[in-house]
């Protein structure tokens, strides 16, 4: 430890700081209005020092969590934050100033102690709708303006600008379900205030100097563990590439190329050679790309044992993302479906490192945010549904991939069917099951994808979605087989209509919308699989006899 805190105090404050971030997250989920936050937990909370360095964050969505620092930098570049007042806040959703896609609204609240600015509590909520060309992802969007309301980096006064004030009124009139969106923004504010209150209690108890010293020590502690983990990887330059299926307009795959340099206890990451920015919503803003790279490194180094804060990322010397590539597009490209590219960032890093640290990597899982959205303009109000349907997780040296979980960048839960049907009377779920036979065989098999079937109960429903791994199958490693592709199908009048991975489709009453998500790739030669596990999987009909023929 750098400072002279005693062991107990350091332990107590470290856990206390993590507890603050976690309590903020629970508060946000509990008081939110939209299903996407309250049931699916698509949100994140973080606690930063006054310079914007992350002290602690809650375990929610990784793609959000690693990016609070980025968006803070943008605020600090625009405003003199030393003049911020206690009743002010910072808000934005602008992908071109440190945020991610427009649905993710980031809110910072300054934390004052004895009239001095000491920290910021921050929350990010994925909002169910922010206006734009579709009630959900707008697949025809060719610029960020057609994706919805863009909230610039704003410094606002809570009392003046919310309620009847300009900020709230402006947001309200530009979004389809204003009560959900504002309800969720208020939930974010409540979460931030909870963080503020808890931090002040901690300062009262231990004193400012001790708490700040412990926060610094905690960052150093993570840094130490992270550097040890990097040092354990042989020095060298490791490369790999993976692809997003297409941009939704043309059939060409989009390359994510990565070069990772391990040099002692430091890492450099370079995405030179990745595809240029493109038409449609699949570009990934710089902050998202960097956040994905950080998230992949966090898994690689620690697998959850290193506290996640600024220190964990200090060994990453640089992340170079060529400007003008689809991983760092120029304004005003559309970016809603940036998670496709972000997942390939994870995948390419895993693939690159598989040759040197095979036990620390995963095969490709479904690794897509299967954003399933529907909009319906009912006689009473506009209803917007959005859910992330999980798929198979990648396999690893130690275990099979889990069946039906969200991809790397998120950790969204499903929405109970009984809750969904109460909130969205225009649909009924007829099937929600494991997608049998979708796993890639291997010594350790990939996870199974999901199969979900919606019956559409009314006309005028639009299906708005983005997904990936429709064409390029989730790959295995070391002889493991790939998992099955994802697919969306509409069954209408006995006909099967294949839908693209990214699109907006008009649905009719009586349609059956079938969502099948990809399975994970296998790890290791299937012939090395424990025969008992094969028999078990067969007994539960999780694999098909075709798979069995591979292993016998």
């Amino acid at each position: 430890m750098r400072t002279n805190l005693n062991q107990a105090t350091f332990n107590i404050i470290s856990h206390g700081l993590h507890g603050i971030a976690q309590e903020m997250g629970e508060k946000l989920v509990r008081s939110a209005y939209s299903t996407i936050i309250r049931e699916a937990r698509d949100c994140s909370t973080s606690f930063l020092d006054r310079n914007g360095r992350i002290i602690a964050q809650a375990q929610f969505c990784p793609i959000h969590m690693n990016s609070f620092g980025k968006v803070f930098e943008a605020f600090a570049a625009k405003f003199d934050l030393s003049t911020i007042k206690p009743n002010e806040g910072l808000i934005t959703n602008d992908p071109y100033h440190g945020a991610q896609h427009l649905n993710d609204i980031v809110l910072f609240t300054p934390v004052f102690y004895r009239d001095t600015l000491l920290a910021f509590s921050a929350s990010l909520g994925h909002h169910i709708d922010v206006g734009g060309g579709a009630a959900g992802p707008n697949a025809s969007a060719t610029d960020v303006f057609s994706e919805g309301l863009r909230i610039p980096l704003c410094r606002f006064d809570v009392d003046r600008d919310l309620g009847d004030g300009l900020l709230e009124q402006f947001i309200r009139i530009n979004v389809r379900p204003p009560d959900d969106v504002m309800g969720d923004i208020y939930a974010q504010l409540a979460a931030n205030r909870t963080g503020q209150a808890r931090f002040i209690e901690m300062l009262d108890r231990f004193g400012e100097e001790t708490v700040l010293a412990a926060a610094r020590d905690l960052q150093d502690y993570s840094e130490r563990l992270a550097r040890d983990a990097v040092r354990a990887i042989p020095d060298g330059v490791y490369r790999a590439e993976d692809f997003v299926d297409d941009n939704g307009f043309t059939a060409d795959p989009l390359r994510v190329a990565v070069k990772i340099t391990i040099d002692g206890d430091e890492i450099e990451i370079d995405f030179e050679g990745s595809s240029p920015q493109t038409k449609g919503m699949i570009n990934s803003p710089h902050a998202s790309t960097v956040s994905a790279a950080y998230g992949a490194i966090a898994i690689l180094l620690g697998g959850g044992r290193i506290p996640v804060n600024d220190g964990l990322y200090r060994p990453i010397r640089s992340v170079k993302v060529p400007y003008g590539s689809f991983l760092n597009p120029s304004q005003p490209r559309a970016v809603r479906a940036r998670n496709n590219a972000c997942h390939r960032v994870y995948n390419s890093i895993m693939l690159a490192m598989s040759e040197v640290v095979p036990s620390q990597v995963l095969t490709s899982g479904h690794d897509t945010t299967n954003a399933i959205g529907m909009g319906h303009m009912g006689s009473d109000r506009y209803r917007v549904y959005m859910e992330v349907v999980g798929g198979g997780w990648g396999a690893s040296a130690g275990s099979d991939g889990a069946d039906v979980v969200d991809g790397y960048v998120g950790n969204c839960s499903n929405v109970p069917v009984e809750s969904l049907e109460a909130d969205y009377p225009f649909m009924r779920v007829e099937e929600y099951a494991l997608r049998r036979g979708s796993a890639g065989a291997g010594k350790h098999r990939g996870g199974l994808g999901a199969r979900r079937v919606y019956r559409i109960m009314d006309d005028g429903v639009t299906f708005n979605s983005y997904s990936d791994r429709f064409k390029i199958r989730p790959w295995g490693l070391f002889g493991g087989k790939p998992g099955a592709n994802s697919r969306f199908v509409v069954e209408r009048d006995g006909e099967q209509i294949n839908l693209p991975s990214k699109g907006n489709t008009e649905l009719r009453r009586g349609d059956r919308l079938v969502i099948e998500t990809a399975g994970g790739g296998g790890y290791g030669d299937p012939r090395d699989r424990d025969p008992k596990l094969v028999r078990d999987d067969l007994k539960h009909a999780l694999i098909t006899t075709d798979d069995r023929s591979i292993v016998q």
């Binding site: 107590i12 839960s413 494991l434």
Partner: protein, 677 residues
């Protein structure tokens, strides 16, 4: 006439009984492979020839919880609506740790090969939109029985909380074909929405049916032979007891009932001592259980988990923290000192037990600091080896460059902080200020930590009740006969609400009336409490508000908005004057109160006191040696005052009175600790 309580814990089985004015207790090792053996042995060891005088046996047991954790329940099968048989594997799709490579969901109690489905569908309004295919059901069940020989069948059909008809038809059909196969319906176990949570609870119920049935039958038979006419009552996670006849098929309601019993004991005891707002702190060998009692009523939650699997039944709202006397100190790879959650348990136990444990446990730290005196531990019934504590602590102190005393104090501080964090969880995080509460410490280690934790949280009143080491057993003796009934119906709060609420509760009341009469109570004995789980329309979580039906009748919507608004304000710090409110679940609690005479015999100061036994000595505290008084609890008369630092010893627990605090012995025998100033 003897009333007895037997609480089977993981390590010990505790007995406490009342005959006339006399209260006695006994403790023996539990028999985990068959808990009923320990119970039957305990009965004969404690009562012997007096067994026929037993009139009431109140029983709490970890038998259900252990069966789930160790996966020792029955070969149950699961029947779902067509399209949903994988529900138990799908769960809520969450990864427990977003940074871990391998991600494992909790293993379901029923594997896929015993999960089947049937064509049927009820919609959200309760309409059957697809009728139940009875022929298909028969074929499916026949096949299932032939191939898998299930021992119980859990049925969870979509929206059955709204309309249970299809589930009931399934039961009728299956009963007819397989009269010996128990059929457990989700609409009986937990008629509330969210299918995975309801299915998980139903499956757990089915999983426990044969085991709990066999267990209770064994005890009933034993009592029937030896103490004819006596009644066996079983503790429930809701904090009430039920006659065993009402518990056979409902083992799932026994989960975590031990800690619940302790909370009920504390609630009653607090009523007698005069505390309305209490936080309970039950610390044993491996973990701490914490519960908040507001206004004389313990919190009840419908969201608990056992081994990662959700249980949606209303249970006493207890937070469990991995901190106890056996919690082990260790240094993590980043060089941070940690304590727990791994515990030395009872075997080998802390190093000072001398049973071969070499890792330093919290108890070792307390022995080193002198707060636990080796010759007085468990009233002197067990010899401790302080030199082994020192040895163990040294393995931590040396690599961190600290001395043994510093290390021992650091372990106490870290454990205290864990517990304080747990107290924050049930208080601050839910909108309650701990400073408005008294902290009741019990369990072997609760009274040791309670005042330290109180100092952290600025709590100014700490209580060690009588019998702190037997508190769960004591709680059994004073628990009401009680059951909670729930029903989900999505209803807007509007002009119709008063009428609908009154008639819904009237209808729901028929069930306890029938059930309690079966137990031998008159309908007039039953006391009802009415509550609604509500939310602002659009929110995903409900808040509970107790409803006064007379006020509802008088003030209608205004009253509902007021009580819900208050609950929302307390929990989330905000409330809306205009947002529409939705009723989600009706909750009816029926109970028959226990006679209060039982409690007063438990709190009578037994004998006339001789001279108070107080020794002067020394302990290590906060880095230095300080003088300390050591007092034997039963020698302290009511009204005695001892100033800290002090250690109050008794056979089952030790109360630590830090410097700056003092203790007064209450007329009930409770130790009341307060800061001196």
């Amino acid at each position: 006439m003897i009333k007895m309580a037997i609480e089977v814990g993981g390590t010990f089985t505790d007995l406490i009984w009342i005959e006339g004015d006399h209260v006695r207790s006994h403790k023996l090792p539990s028999t985990p492979h068959d808990a009923s053996i320990g119970v039957i042995d305990g009965l004969s060891q404690s009562l012997g020839a007096d067994l026929p005088k037993l009139t009431h046996l109140f029983h709490g047991s970890t038998v259900a919880t252990n069966a789930v954790i160790e996966r020792k329940g029955c070969r149950a099968a699961f029947l779902a609506t067509r399209g949903f048989r994988d529900l138990l594997v799908l769960q809520r799709q969450l990864r427990p740790n977003v940074y871990a490579i391998a991600c494992e969901k909790p293993a379901p109690l029923i594997p896929l090969k015993r999960s089947v489905e049937v064509t049927e569908r009820t919609d959200v309004s309760g309409q059957a939109v697809l009728s139940l295919d009875e022929d298909e059901l028969c074929r499916t069940i026949d096949q299932l029985v032939e191939k898998e020989q299930p021992e119980a069948l859990a049925v969870c059909l979509l929206h059955s909380y709204r309309n249970p008809e299809h589930e009931q038809t399934v039961r009728r059909i299956v009963n007819k074909r397989y009269p010996d196969l128990p059929v457990v319906l989700s609409s009986d176990v937990l008629p509330t929405f969210r299918e995975y949570e309801r299915a998980s609870t139903t499956v757990m119920a089915a999983y426990l049916v044969p085991l709990v049935g066999r267990y209770l039958r064994r005890l009933e038979d034993h009592l029937g032979d030896r103490a004819p006419g006596s009644g066996l009552f079983v503790m429930q996670s809701s904090g009430g007891v039920l006659p065993s006849s009402g518990s056979h098929g409902r083992g799932v309601e026994m989960l975590n009932s031990g800690p619940a019993a302790g909370v009920i004991g504390a609630t009653r005891m607090a009523g007698l001592i005069g505390d309305r707002n209490v936080i309970t702190l039950d610390v044993g060998g491996t973990s701490a259980d914490i519960c908040l009692i507001a206004n004389g009523v313990p919190g009840i939650t419908a969201e608990t988990e056992v081994d990662g699997l959700p249980v949606g039944l209303p249970s006493v709202d207890i937070a469990n923290i991995g901190a106890g006397g056996g919690s082990i100190g260790w240094i993590d790879e980043g060089g941070m000192l940690r304590v727990g959650p791994r515990s030395a348990g009872a075997r080998p136990g802390p190093a000072c037990y001398g049973h071969g444990g070499s890792a330093p446990a919290l108890t070792d730290a307390l022995v080193r600091l002198g707060w636990i005196r080796p010759h007085r531990f468990l009233g002197g019934r067990m010899t401790l080896h302080p030199e082994k504590s020192d040895q163990a602590l040294k393995t931590l102190a040396e690599p961190l460059g600290q001395n043994i005393d510093e290390m021992a104090q650091a372990m106490v501080d870290i454990s205290t902080a864990h517990i304080s964090q747990g107290i924050r969880l049930v208080s601050v995080q839910r909108g309650h200020d701990p400073r408005d509460y008294s902290l009741y410490g019990y369990g072997g280690m609760g009274p040791m930590i309670s005042a330290l934790s109180a100092s952290d949280l600025k709590i100014r009143r700490v209580v060690t009740p009588p019998y702190p080491g037997l508190f769960s057993a004591l709680g059994l003796l004073v628990a009401d006969v009680k059951r909670i009934y729930r029903e989900t119906r999505f209803l807007p709060v509007d002009g119709e609400s008063s009428r609908i609420i009154a008639s819904t509760f009237r209808r729901m009341q028929r069930e306890p009336e029938t059930e309690f009469v079966k137990y031998g109570y008159a309908a007039a004995d039953i006391v009802y409490e009415h509550a609604l789980e509500m939310r602002y329309a659009g929110q995903g979580f409900e808040l509970l508000a107790t409803i006064d039906l007379d006020r509802l009748d008088r003030d209608g919507v205004t009253y509902l908005r007021e009580v819900f608004g208050a609950a929302h304000q307390a929990r989330y710090g905000s409330t809306s004057r205009a947002a529409p409110i939705e009723i989600v679940t009706f909750r009816l609690t029926a109970h028959v109160p226990t006679p209060s005479a039982v409690l007063s015999s438990l709190t009578r100061m037994n004998e006339k006191k001789s001279e108070a036994e107080i020794e002067e000595g020394q302990i290590t505290f906060g880095g230095g040696k300080i003088p300390c008084r050591f007092a034997w609890r039963s020698s302290l008369a009511s009204g005695s005052v001892v100033k800290g630092a002090a250690v109050i010893e008794e056979p089952t627990a030790t109360t630590f009175v830090p410097p700056g605090w003092m203790v007064i012995v209450d007329k009930t025998g409770a130790l009341i600790l307060t800061p001196e100033s």
